[in-house]
């Protein structure tokens, strides 16, 4: 049974031309092992490299025309 169906663990979904969406039971840590507070249950992680709030997504992938190469 997948983590999504079982409702435990975490899932990571790469959205077409967008960020990685993380859901479930997870923590995001700094290199020092400190928890980076995300303030929400579902988070978007930058994968285009231009977010000003990395590791989180701030939507700027749209301005640079990021293409993930999947979807169609």
């Amino acid at each position: 049974m997948s983590a999504e169906i079982a409702g435990d663990g975490a899932t990571i979904t790469p959205y077409t031309d967008g960020p990685l969406i993380v859901r479930g039971d997870f923590e995001i840590l700094s290199l020092d092992g400190e928890v980076l507070p995300s303030g929400r249950k579902t988070v978007a992680l930058c994968r285009c490299g231009v977010s000003a709030i990395k590791p989180f997504c701030d939507g700027t992938h749209k301005l640079v025309g990021f293409r993930s190469g999947d979807g169609e």
């Binding site: 969406i21 929400r40 978007a44 939507g59």
Partner: protein, 351 residues
């Protein structure tokens, strides 16, 4: 007349009328429904208001009346009897106004060619539609040029929707099923603070107003905002409260979320530029990260999945998205045009 009804009868409606229809409507709502069971005759007044308006989207009397009629469903006016909510004459008048409002939007809003009803194709079409949004930008002006007074006006204009943020789209929850419903609830749960009342977006915005020195009570500034600002909220209420417009409210939310992260980063910068601290900027900063999540869910899991599951809704999903961009574009242009002409964007001219 009971004591309670007498109290209601002498309670002045908390907003100023803007024409014959809103005058009649506020007079009716200042009484209890039992005091005036017959002879309300509001729909003929609504018909006349619509006939007299050159644009119902920009007509103060029509938009304020719609705002008040929708307010009965939200519970926006505590002094007004809740018994009015489903009064047939008020619903009939609302339908007159909605027919004209929707008709004008369908006639003026350009809808892009329909994509295939698949999750990926619909998300991509929405992405193209929302990135094509060009022209002068209110967010850029707020970031670089707005004065303290203009920032106050900006908060006042925003407060009509934002103190009720997310509520219009929540009407769609019971009307959806399956994965589209789960997606909408995932977004709305975050909008409503994920179980923490202080993190509700409407509450964070109320704190922003308070920290800025404005009154946080809902509806306090309605008299100040023009028809087009009321129309921006009325579009959402119309789409949300009419089940036949389910596709449109879903498309509206997708477009709203997809044009939010980047402007909110600029709004936050504008307030920081004039020395405002985190108490004021928290709302805008929050929306950079929040709406970067919401836009993905709204485009793919909500709008895309709904189009895949119910292809008949696809045209209205695109219409709702386009209507959001057009009407909010007009509301933003009103503010920007006023400021660049050295005028206040508010009706009284001063906050």
């Amino acid at each position: 007349m009971s004591v309670l009804q007498h109290d209601l009868a002498v309670t002045a409606f908390p907003m100023e009328a803007r024409g014959p229809l809103s005058t009649r409507l506020t007079a009716i709502l200042s009484q209890g429904p039992d005091d005036s069971a017959q002879g309300l005759e509001l729909s003929p007044v609504a018909e006349a208001a619509v006939a007299a308006a050159s644009s119902v989207v920009r007509d103060d009397d029509v938009q304020l009346s719609l705002f008040i009629l929708y307010g009965l469903h939200y519970g926006s006016f505590p002094a007004v009897s809740a018994d009015w909510e489903w009064h047939p004459e008020l619903v009939a008048a609302r339908r007159v106004l909605e027919r004209a409002f929707e008709g004008e939007l369908r006639a003026t809003v350009a809808v892009p060619p329909l994509p295939q009803p698949t999750r990926v194709a619909v998300a991509r079409a929405l992405s193209e539609l929302t990135s094509a949004d060009s022209g002068p930008s209110l967010s850029r002006y707020v970031a670089k040029k707005a004065t303290r007074e203009q920032l106050g006006e900006f908060l006042i204009q925003r407060s009509v929707y934002t103190l009720r943020e997310a509520d219009p789209h929540s009407w769609a929850i019971p009307r959806l099923t399956g994965r589209a419903k789960a997606a909408l609830v995932e977004i709305q749960a975050d909008e409503y603070g994920g179980g923490r009342p202080a993190r509700m977006h409407s509450e964070i915005f109320a704190t922003t107003m308070e920290e800025f020195g404005l009154d946080r009570r809902y509806g306090r500034y309605v008299d100040e905002v023009p028809a087009i600002t009321l129309a921006s909220l009325n579009v959402m209420s119309m789409f949300g409260l009419n089940r036949r417009l389910l596709g449109a409210i879903v498309g509206h939310l997708a477009a709203f979320e997809m044009t939010s992260s980047i402007p909110n980063a600029m709004y936050a910068n504008g307030f920081r530029r004039l020395g405002y601290g985190v108490g004021v900027t928290a709302y805008f900063d929050e929306h950079v990260a929040a709406d970067a999540v919401h836009e993905q869910i709204a485009a793919n899991d909500l709008a895309g999945a709904l189009a895949e599951d119910e292809p008949a809704l696809l045209p209205d999903i695109l219409f709702g998205a386009a209507a959001c961009l057009v009407v909010d574009g007009w509301a933003g242009a009103h503010i920007l045009d006023s400021w660049t002409a050295d005028r206040s964007s508010l009706r009284s001219g001063t906050p």
